[in-house]
Point group: none
Chain length 240, copies 4
DNA sequence: CATGAATGAGACTTCATTCAT
DNA sequence: TATGAATGAAGTCTCATTCAT
């Protein structure tokens, strides 16, 4: 086990960050900040309740404006939803790719690094919730499908595929079908992230409780053993 | 892996068809067939629209009956949903438990058997979408959260945990945290199944296209290598 | 206090008497008894739930027949209701008048006798419940108003008026307006009877609980003192 | 009796009319008047149709607003009903308590005052029908039973009991069971009020017609004679 | 006559959206 | 711009009544 799940600070899932406008030039500042505040509030609510379950009035309330004002900025709940998805996603990807490009160590360590970053930057933030929403609602908003595919699905797949390819190229990993491996790598992490926003937020008796850090390290352990040409040599003994 | 996911014929999601009982009064025959017809219609609609989005009247319509008739058989939308879950998932899990209990072969083969069955019976049918629905909407229907946890999540976890435990007990698998391993085992299959019913149902250009059968076999390959005490002996005389 | 409320056995308000057909010539007997059984069941339910609250199906159930059968005998819920009222009332009145006509004692004692009989024969039986229903529903069934007035209101009034008149004629009672006195005499008893069928049947915390026997005797005590020319002489001292 | 029920003008049941606030924005004025308008409409409809029979939409219509608006002010039909009760009965009882607390005269006069006020404020307005509704429908609405008991039945009983107690304490009245006396005091008034809204609203031939004012004064006359330790001294020099 | 499955009008309630102020 | 009162379509569920068997 590569200490993969090291710095996993499982903070309370504080999904949303409201930008708390610190009273200055109240009127002016507010007016400019409005759209962002509305999007923040909407994100929070869509995450909590899904599209159908989020009420326009509550979005407005959380943003500190009246219902009418919401409609001044977004002509309908649908448009609001799309705006939320677009703006949340646009700032998400592209971090990982850089990490991967510059990484020097073993491909095993790179994957560990990636999955950990993934979890910390995405799994534990509103981004994961967006994925949940998308899964749930794309069929009602097909326009978003393409957008999400381009912005999230493809880049993420490319990222993981390239790492696996790197491992294979360097003789570290067995040759295996890339996309499928990438799927197996990402799924448990994404799945866990999503669960935190659904069942994880419900008060149920006797649910299955997994330790995220342990899931992550176990998953990594399993995958690396499965991927590597030879079982990873024990850390201490194997300088090579 | 022995081509575990071999005969994966991705047919149209075909729901169980009741063999029409020989010959009784027409009325009588309807009476008996009704629940199944309603359940089928409900499953289809829940998959399309989600729980909140599915209208009771449309369920009835699709089953070819009036609104009132639906309520003759299921006292509320929630109960209807529960019935759908019981029919599609609970029974399947129960079946899996039986298979596991009677299985004689290696634990590796048992897991392979289980995952394949899962995929064939869930991944490939509308049943998969149920979990999507739950992920998306539990927070709005707390009672369903408890129900689904009791009826599906916990039993499924127990099923896979017990298989892993079996492998450990028999010295086939390394000792690893059960729940976390179960999570890593199930997630890619469920995740893939879910995707087929969300993004998979939307026409997008350039999406990531994985071959389900290949995902399944690759996942199994990776996991078993990861789980087993020693890398699985090469099937036929391997050199080296 | 004239021992007025003597034999007040406050049994459990067993409102309805189902005629429990003792299985003989089942088919035949049943067929003839049907209407009566239906009326009994309907009475019970109307008393419990009122007109709107009583469901046709439950009436049928209690009568041991199917919903369809009910409509074979009564073409609608309204007609059923009217039939219930008519048949219950028709057998009610006319007892008291006889008692009054033959009474020999003082008018005070006569009133006591009357109120007690009233309570036992009416206040504590379905008859009282019918009065409750009538009060509640006449406005929706004006046809019943005339009927009820003729069969119940007028005779009851006449009965009590004649007693009061008797007292006045014999110099026992002060001359007072007859109808108004009759009202004051009957109201508390009827009122109490009605309450037993509404609030009395609800599980409330901290309700006002009066002892029917005590209400009756107190009421009589008050009224007689009020009515009589001189306060009733203490029993012992006053032979004459 | 001092013509206690003197100026009983039986006018059309007129509900409180809000004096339209001087001049604000039309919208604003409506906003303030709405609750009252809705309450008025609701009272009228409840009286006509009962609780179950009154349709929310019609209440709204009569108040000149749409269905949705009603729910803007009262979250459910039950709450609407409660509000009506509070406005019409609770406030009246509270008022009575105050009168009783500050009353200086004889307890006989206090009771007279109370009953007269009651009749004028309840018996003569739609408010009386509320008790009728409760009698008829409590069993179907258990929550209302508790509410009404707490809000009306118990306070009213307490009010009258305390007056009787006052009379006993001051040596004016004979010691008698409080609750039972209170019952005998209130019943004829309430009963008469109820009748006005049921049978009284139906056109019948040959019904018993009592003069409310006369009922009231006769009832009071009888009760006070019955209650008082000695028969009330004749007002002017009575012979003998 | 009897049954009980089926119907569908209609009740309560919610909430996205509009619009007068 | 901003507000929030008002709207009314739509959804869940009930139940009196019908009718094929």
């Amino acid at each position: 086990m590569t200490g993969a799940a090291a710095a996993l600070t499982i903070t309370d899932p504080q999904v949303i960050k409201m930008s708390p406008t610190p009273e200055t030039h109240a009127r002016q500042r507010r007016k400019e900040a409005r759209p962002q505040e509305l999007l923040d509030a909407a994100l929070a609510l869509f995450v909590e309740k899904g599209f159908a379950g989020a009420r326009a009035e509550e979005v407005a309330q959380r943003a500190g404006v009246s219902k009418g004002t919401l409609y001044l900025y977004y002509p309908s709940k649908e448009e609001l939803f799309k705006a939320v998805v677009r703006q949340t996603l646009s700032s998400l990807i592209a971090e990982g790719e850089e990490v991967a490009a510059q990484f020097e160590g073993s491909s095993a360590d790179l994957l560990g690094e990636l999955l950990n970053t993934w979890w910390q930057r995405i799994g534990n933030t509103p981004a994961a919730a967006i994925h949940k929403i998308m899964l749930a609602e794309v069929r009602n908003f097909p326009e978003l499908a393409q957008f999400y595919t381009d912005e999230v699905v493809v880049p993420a797949d490319r990222l993981f595929c390239s790492c696996v390819q790197r491992g294979i190229d360097r003789g570290e990993f067995r040759p295996l079908p890339l996309h499928e491996v990438a799927h197996a790598l990402m799924a448990p992490v994404i799945f866990m992230a999503i669960h935190r926003h659904s069942f994880g937020a419900c008060p149920v008796d006797g649910g299955v409780d997994v330790d995220p850090a342990l899931v992550l390290s176990t998953h990594l352990d399993l995958m690396l053993r499965g991927l590597q040409v030879r079982a990873p040599a024990p850390r201490r003994k194997a300088p090579r």
